[in-house]
Amino acid sequence: MASLQEIPKQQTSLPDPFSDITCGGWEISEEPRARLSLWAVSLQGKVWFREGICHHNPEGSSWEEVPLPGEVVQISCGPGDLVWAVLWEGQLIVREGIGRDCPKGTSWAVVDSPSPDVGAIHAAVGVNVVWALTKDNKVWFRRGVNSHNPCGSGWISMIGEMIMINVGLNDQVLAISCEDRAVCFRQGVTSSELSGKTWRVINVPRDGDRSHSSASASSLQSAGCYFCGEVQVQTVSSDVESDTDKASTDGANCLATSTSPESFVDAPSDQLSETPKPLIPKVTSDSFISELVSDRETGKISREVCGSAAPAVLEEGTVTEDREVRAPSGALAVSLSQSGAPLDPQWSNVDLEEAQGQQAQTGAALDSADTCSLSSVATYTLAMEDPYGADEHPLWAWVSGGGCSVDSHSQLNWFNSSMNASLLVQSVQSMSLSITPAQTAAWKRQIFEQLNERTKRELDNFRHYEQAIEQSVWMKKGTMQWWRDWKPHKWMDVHFALEQFSGPEGNKDGILFIYYNFYEEKKYLHAFINEVTILVPVLNDYKHTFAIYTPERTKQRWPIRVSAATELEMHDWLALLSVSCCDSRGIQGPPSKQAIWSITCKGDIFVSEPSPALEEMPYPTPCDQMFWRQVGGHLRMIECNSVGIVWGIGYDHTAWIYTGGYGGGFFQGLASSTDNIYTQVDVKSVYIYENHRWNPVTGYTNRGLPTDRYMWSDASGLHECTKTNTKPPSPQWTWVSDWAVDYSVSGGTDREGWQYAADFPASYHGYKTMKDFVRRRRWARKCKLATTGPWQEIPPIPLSDVSILPCAAQSSVDVVPLWAISNKGDVLCRLGVTALTPAGSSWLHVGTDQPFKSVSIGAASHVWAIARDGSAFYRGSVSSQDPAGDCWYHIPSPSKQKLKQVSVGRTSVYTVDENSNLWYRQGVTPSYPQGSAWEHISNNVRKVSIGPLDQVWIIADKVQGSRSLSCGTVCHRLGVQPKEPKGQSWDYGIGGGWDHVTVRGNSMEPPRLPSLTELSAQM
C-alpha cells in the first residue's frame, strides 16, 4: 500500500486549512502520464489547484490559488473536464476553458441554484453529468452537460432527499439519504440515460464485519482492465475445497474472465447453511449475460424479505452484497479489503497453489500500488449479514464512488429487487467440456447437420434472390489518436468511424474512416474493411494502440496505427472491427483444420484460412493478402497438424491443447464461442541489469564513467531501467514476485550473480580476472497475465518444443505421433493422441545423452531433433509399432554453426542455426533418411515451419518494406515443387513483431495446372 504523504502547505500562499478536496481530470489527456487535476477548498472559501501532478511526481509541485467570484464551500471535479463548485450564497460556478493544454481552466461561469428560494449546498460531477443538492435536501440533475457546454442547459428535479451525493466512474451515482442516512445507489445510469431510474439502498457493513468475507473480487484499473473472480468457499481453509470442487471453480473463473471488463461475477456461498451450495454456473462469454451474482436486494429491503417466504433466496438468505467504497474522492488513494482471505486479490485462483506461493513471496507487496496509481481498486465483499442486527443501522455521513467502477451497460443484479434475478443464470449453453465433435450428442449433431442441409436446399441456389428486408447503413464513431503518416511522425487526435452496410452479395461490408486536420484543412484516410488483412493489438505500458494492415500497408511495412483512450475502448474497437472484417469475408466460427497459426512477440495468437491457391504454381496468392484473425489466449509457440490437433506452449512453458472454440480474450458475445473457452494464465520474467565499473579506490561501484551506460539498464544498456521505474510489459501483466538476482545467465555468474567483462558491451564471464573493469548482474521479476481463450492446460510437464505428425490421419481414432521437448531438455513422445483425444494420455520418455531443445516429426515418421549443444540427431526406426524409435544418429551441424530449430515436412528437412541461417538437408532419401549435407538457403531467419506438402514458411528478420523495415515477418518460400524442394525466392507476409508460424495443418493440395510440357504435348 502506498503510504499517503502529507502535502506540505506553503505558509506564505496558503494560510488556512482545507475543507474539501476533489480529484479528477485523468481523461483529459494521457500525456504526461498520470496527470491529475486536484482541486481544494480552504476554510476561507478559496479554491486552490495543485500544479504538476504526474506519474513521477504524484504529490504535485505547488498550490495555485484560483481567483473566484465568491466564497466556495464545496467543489467537485470529474474524470474529464468538468469542474463545478458551490458558493456560500447558494449559486454554483462552473470552470470553463479546461483542456489538454490548460487543465486548470480559464474562467468561472455562474449557474443559479436549481431552486430560486433555496440555495445549492452540494454538487457532484462525472464525465457528462452534474448532480446537485439544495439546502432542503432536494436532488437535482443538470441537463445537457458535456465538454463543449460544461454549464449544461437546465435543472431537472429528481425524486429523493439526500444529504450528500457523489458521482463515481462511468457517471454512476452514490448518495446518502436524508431520512435514514443509508447509502443509496442510483440504478439504471447508462450513457443514454445518465439520470438513471431509481434509488436503491445498499447495505454497507462496517470494517469489523469484513472478516466474514466469503468472496471478493477486485478490479484493477477501472479505466478498463479486468475483473478477477475469486471463488472461495467460506474461508481460507476451504481453498482446498474449492480446488477440489473443480467444476465450480473452473466454471466461475471462466465466467469471471470472460465477462466484459467491468461486470462483476461471483459465486455464492452460505456460511450458515451446513452444506455450501456452489452454483455451477452455466456460462456464456457474453458480457450482458454472465452476471452470475449471488446476492440479492440489500439493506432494509433485504431484511424485510428474510422474514417472509422467499424460496428463491432463502438458500442464501444470509449472504448480502456490500460494496465498499473507501477510496477518497477521485481515485488517488486505494485501500484493499482487509478480508480474512489472505489471497492476493489480484488473482483469480485458477491456480491456487501458485497464488498462495506468490502470496508468500510478495508478502507486503499486496500493495499493487504500481497498477493502481492512476486508476482505482474497487473491492466488493460478499459479506455475512451484519452481526449488529437488523435494527442497528449505521448512519452514514459521506460516500465516495471515485474508486468504484460499475459497468453502465450491465445490469447489476445485486441491486435488483426482483427475487429471481439473483438466481437467474445463463443458459444459452451448458458448460460442456467436449473438445471434439464426436463428443457432441447425437441429437445435437443431427440438428447441426440438418441445418446445413437446409441451407443448401433452401438458400444456396437462390442467393441471387432479393432479400425481403434491406439492411441499412450504420456507424460507430469515436475519437482516437493516430500515428500520422508524414514526418515528423507523432500522435494526433482524429475522429475514427466505421460505416457498415450490406455488400452486393448480402454479406456485411464496411469502410473505416480516419478524419484529421492538416493545416486547418479537414482530410480523411479510409480503408475498406474487406481489404483489411489483420488487426494487431500493440498494448504497451502507456498507449492502447492497435495496427491495421491492408496488403498495401504490409508492403510498406507501415500500418495504420491508432490509439484508443482506454484499454476497454481499444478492445471494443478491436472486437467490432474484427467481427466486421470476418463478416465481410464470410468467415465465422472456429478455424479450420488446415488453418495456419501464428504468434506475435506479445503472445497474441492469429489464425489464417489458407485457400488452395496459397501454394498454387506458378502464381500463388501473395502472402500479404492473407487474412488473419485473432484467437483469444496467450502463447509462445503453437504446432498443429491437418487433422485439427493443435498444441501450444506458453511463456511459462505450460502445454495447452486447443479446444475447438474461437474468441475469448476481448472477443465477446457472438464473436466468441460459448463453450470451449477457458481461463488461461501465463507468466514471464522481465529482466534488468545492474552495471558496475571498477575504480582503483573503492573497487566495483555503481558510479560509472560519464560515457558509461546507465547503472541500471536493459540488456542493451541504452535505456535506463531501475527496479522502481520498470513496469510490466503492458497493463495486462501484473507483477507476481519481487526483483531477484538471476543466476541462470548464459556465460555463468559468480555467487552474487555478477558477470565480468573488460568493458561494456562485451562478452561476459562468471568469474573476475585482472582485466575485468566492469561487471553486471541480471535481475528478474515475474509478471503474470490472465486471459481467456480456447485452450486447456495439459499438465504436468512444462515443455519447450512440440511437433505433431503433419499428414492427414486415415480416421479419427488413428494414433497421431507427437513429440516434445520438456523444459529440462528431455525428449518425450506422447501416447494416445488421436483426432478425438488430441491431448493424448501419457508421456513416454526417450533417452538421450544430453538435453535437447528442438524436435520435429515429418510425414514419414522421420524424427529429427536438435541438442542443446547445437548438433542435430536423427531418430532411427520410428514407426507406429515403435513410436519412440530405437536410437539416435548424430548428424554434424553445418560447419561452425550451432543449430537451434528443426522442421521436417513430407520429405524436406530444414534447420535454423543460432546465427539465423536457414539450412536445407540434401540427399534425404527413403533408404537414407539422414541425408548427406547441409545446404545454405537464406540468412536472417528466426524460425522455420515445413508443411505436410513440404511448403516452407519462416519468420524472417530485417524485411525491407517501401517505408520501413520489419523484424519478425511471416514469409513464404515461392517455387517449392516436388522436384525443387528448396524453392526460389521469398514472398513477404505479415510482420514485424511475429515470433512463430506453423503451416503444418495445411495439407490442401494446390489446384494442378498442366505444366508447359504437358500443354505442348496436347498441342
Binding site: K444, Q446, Q450, L451, L459, Y465, E466, I469, P590, L670
Partner: protein
C-alpha cells in the same frame, strides 16, 4: 465445429426462396410479372412483403387493390403464423421456390385476420412474447423490461437485426440452474389434418424425477399419433424450422435454440410424403 450459437444464427437467417404470382382473376392493366424474394423464415408475411405489394400495384388501378392476402394451393396463408411455419406446414417437400399466389380482392374474413399496418403485427408479436414469458418465468422477465426493451425486440425482428434482437432476447432465455429449465415450455403444435388451429398445453421441461423431457416426451403427451409405432412405417414428420430433430432432443434445449423470435417453439406435424 458447430457451436450452439451458430444454431441461433442459422435459425434467424433461415430464408425461403419464394415466387409471388398475382392471382389470375385480378384485374390488371398489363400482365404482372412474378416477383422473387428471399423470405426470412422467422418473420411474418405481411411484414416483409412491401416490395411485393409495390410490384403488383404498378400493374393495377388503385381502386382495384384492396387489402393484400396470400394463398398457397387454395389455402389462405395466415400472416400471424411465422413464415417458416406456413412453409413447413403447407409446402415442405415441394419444389423451390415456394410459389405463393397474391390476392387483392375477396379477403377471406373467415380464415384470416386483417392486417392493415405493421402495428398489428407488432401487437401480435409482443403478445406472443408475453404469453411465452408467462409460461417460462411467470412474466417476470418481460415485465422487468422497459418499453424500449420491448421495442428493441420488435425492431430487431422488423429490421432483421440478429444482434439487436438477441441482446435483449437472451434475457428471456435465462433460467435458474436450480430449476434446470423454464417453468413451462412455450410450444405450439400445428397439423394440416385438423380444424384445430394448434395444440398448446402446459408442459414442463423437467420431469418430476428430475430428468430432462425430450421432444418425444412432449409428443407422447400431446400428440401421440405423431409418434411412429413399432413395426409400422413412419407416418408423420415432426418439423421445426425445416428440420427434423431427433425425438430424444431435450425440449429445454429446443426451446432455447429453435424457438421463433416470438419465443414459442412451433412444431409442425406433417404426413410423410407418399411418392
Amino acid at each position: 465445429m458447430a457451436d450452439d450459437k451458430d444454431v441461433l444464427r442459422d435459425v434467424w437467417f433461415g430464408r425461403i426462396p419464394t415466387c409471388f404470382n398475382l392471382n389470375q382473376d385480378e384485374v390488371t392493366e398489363r400482365e404482372a410479372e412474378p416477383y422473387y424474394l428471399l423470405l426470412p423464415r422467422v418473420s411474418y408475411l405481411t411484414l416483409v412483403t412491401d416490395k411485393v405489394k409495390k410490384h403488383f400495384h404498378k400493374v393495377m388501378k388503385a381502386e382495384d387493390a384492396e387489402e393484400m392476402w396470400f394463398e398457397y394451393e387454395g389455402t389462405p396463408l395466415k400472416w400471424h403464423y411465422p413464415i417458416g411455419v406456413l412453409f413447413d406446414l403447407h409446402a415442405s417437400n415441394t419444389v423451390l421456390p415456394w410459389s405463393i399466389t397474391v390476392h387483392f380482392k375477396n379477403f377471406p374474413d373467415r380464415d384470416l385476420l386483417h392486417c392493415q399496418s405493421n402495428s398489428v403485427i407488432e401487437a401480435h408479436f409482443m403478445s406472443s412474447i408475453k404469453e411465452a414469458d408467462a409460461l417460462k418465468h411467470k412474466s417476470q422477465v418481460v415485465n422487468d423490461m422497459q418499453k424500449k426493451d420491448h421495442k428493441q425486440l420488435w425492431m430487431g425482428l422488423q429490421n432483421d437485426k440478429f444482434d439487436q434482437f438477441w441482446a435483449m432476447n437472451r434475457k428471456l432465455m435465462e433460467y435458474s440452474t436450480e430449476d434446470g429449465g423454464f417453468r413451462y415450455i412455450p410450444f405450439r403444435i400445428y397439423q394440416t389434418m385438423s380444424d384445430r388451429p394448434f395444440i398448446q398445453k402446459l408442459f414442463r421441461p423437467v420431469s418430476p424425477e428430475g430428468s430432462m423431457h425430450t421432444l418425444g416426451d412432449l409428443l407422447k403427451e400431446t400428440y401421440p399419433a405423431a409418434l411412429p409405432t413399432e413395426g409400422e412405417q413412419k407416418r408423420f414428420q415432426v418439423v421445426i424450422h425445416g428440420i427434423e430433430p431427433l425425438l430424444e432432443t431435450p425440449l429445454q434445449w429446443l426451446s432455447e435454440h429453435l424457438s421463433h423470435p416470438d419465443n414459442f417453439l412451433h412444431i409442425c406435424i406433417i404426413p410423410v410424403p407418399t411418392d
